[in-house]
Amino acid sequence: MSLDAIITFAITYGIPAIITIVGLTTPILLAGLGELVAEKSGVLNLGVEGMMLVGAISGFGVTVITGSPWLGILGAAAGGGLASMLFAVLVLQLNSNQVATGLALTIFGTGLSSLLGLSFTGRIIAPFLSAFPASVAKDPVLKLLFGYSPIVYFALIMVPVVYWFLKYTRAGLILRAVGENDHSAHSIGYSVVAVRYAAIAFGGAMAGIGGAYFSMVITPMWAEKMTAGRGWIALALVVFAGWRTGRLLAGAYFFGFLMWLELFAKANGFGTSLPFLQSIPSQFWAAMPYLMTVIALSFISSRGTAGSNAPACLGKPFLPST
């Protein structure tokens, strides 16, 4: 194969593949970052899927009404954040069971988004694309770097921000302390409940923006249950990453790659040129993120709490002993 042929091949197949993978990754990266912060504060919120759906319809609705996708993104964050507050009040104020409350939030969000979406069914918006001028965003090669929605860049910027926040800021240290040992944090005067409120709200807002990626970028219209279970993948991602920000980014792109393999296999894209890959059913790739997560979880857990980065108070209610 000549060099020219390789370059042509890369431009025709490689670049579209990477662009698809970036699109598949962005929603789970956003929701995963949010859930990571919430879990680091000791709260397990299984309502990610519900918050994503509420974000998807809020973002879409605000964009339709105001005409501004930027306001739409704010609306998505607000929608996801508000939905998460339902969970927060129950879990933090009334010490309800986190697993059941999170599941209830997902069911609630699914129903609420369908209901809110009633008046927006059939409406179409201009997809919230390219943050950069068309000269670079449409270039067959440069679009690899510049051809994405602003949401994609936002997600990527949030990775170092969350990393820096958790690791180097005082607030991040307090948040981790609350997740690691709520009673100690409480006894030295930090408000466990306030910290967790903030962490849950951040998680909700990020999930909301992640959901809006579906309704504002991928298919610029509203459809019931359009996030198609990606909220659960985001939850798996946090565990797969072992509650580490850097690994979350790598894991998100790995999961994105697996999702792309699934789509590719479904479209029978391997053809007869790769008989080995062709013989693997698409469902195998779809199941991989979950299987990998269970395996990763087993490794993390078997090492005991000492080697693990899992917050010690994850999922446990905080009951001050006074």
Partner: protein, 361 residues
Amino acid sequence: MRLKLEKRREPSMVMLVATPIASVILTMIIGVVVFDLMGINGFQAVKDIFLTPILASYKWQDVAVKAAPLVIIALGLSLGNRAQVWNIGAEGQYIIGALCAAGVAIAFGQTGGFFVVVLMIAASIIGGAAWAAIPAMLRTRYSVNEILSSLMLTYVAAQVLGYLIGGPWKDPNGRNFPATAPLLDSQSLPILFPGTTIHLGVLIALILPFAFWLLMSRAVFGYQVRVVGSSPNAARHGGFDTRNTIWATMMIGGAMAGLAGSLEFSGVLHKIDLGFASGYGFTAIIVSFLGRLNPIGCLIAGIVLAVTFVGGQVAQTTVHIPNSTAGIFQAMMLFFILASDILVRYRVRLIPSTKPIAAGE
């Protein structure tokens, strides 16, 4: 004046029973208000979702058929929840159970009859339990959180289903549609009342709660589950093994979910397609909480949830709201029941405001 929470020595029995009822009623009231604010006829919507299925006798069979899997799965989950074992992968165990039953049916080809139906049910129970054994094993051996592992396995199960019905088990006469061939009549569950859709599974769902009630209240195992859940230390001193309890409750939870899967397959749907898993495994978690983890409570709560499902379909045609709106009501009931838990465990006292207590008190 301020409110003070005082821990009760014993959970309040009155609150235990009153709060689920109050949750349902509150949900209905808020439903009317919120829907009216949204410009939808709230009274009609709530009436259709909660009352029409009860008042219209031709809807009873739909309620019974919907309630059966919810009750059966919730019974198994309640047992685990009592022991603080959180199996939220019932949906996956339900899928695997149904697939095992389908596998038996396919293996027998054109042969049917009592023996095959019993074998299908047995296979589903074993399959569901085996799927639940994975998180049980991971939890007891590697202390893997069963909430996360059982949830992940649900999505793996869904892909197993997709693979089987789109590949080896695809109906050869199904116009390339991913679904199994329709089940033979002789491999299906008998209908209890001719002319209705009420199948044998409904009877099973009516009997099982009483069996579970006996197990929980009269057998040593039931006592063990309650002790392990409420005070793990006491359980250890009493010689109850936590590991055994995790294994037993997970396996029973999986077995019940698997059973529900095969009953739904051979009693209602008669084939497995991509829409087979309709969320019963997740809704059963609501049923289990609304029923206060009590077997008889699960029976009642299962019927209530089934009513909202059937009612959701009614409201879809009368006030034109999406079917999934019923989910809002189901979630609201769960929110209220979870919020009211605090009334069961604590007593709310009004305390007259006093001067600050002197330091050193």
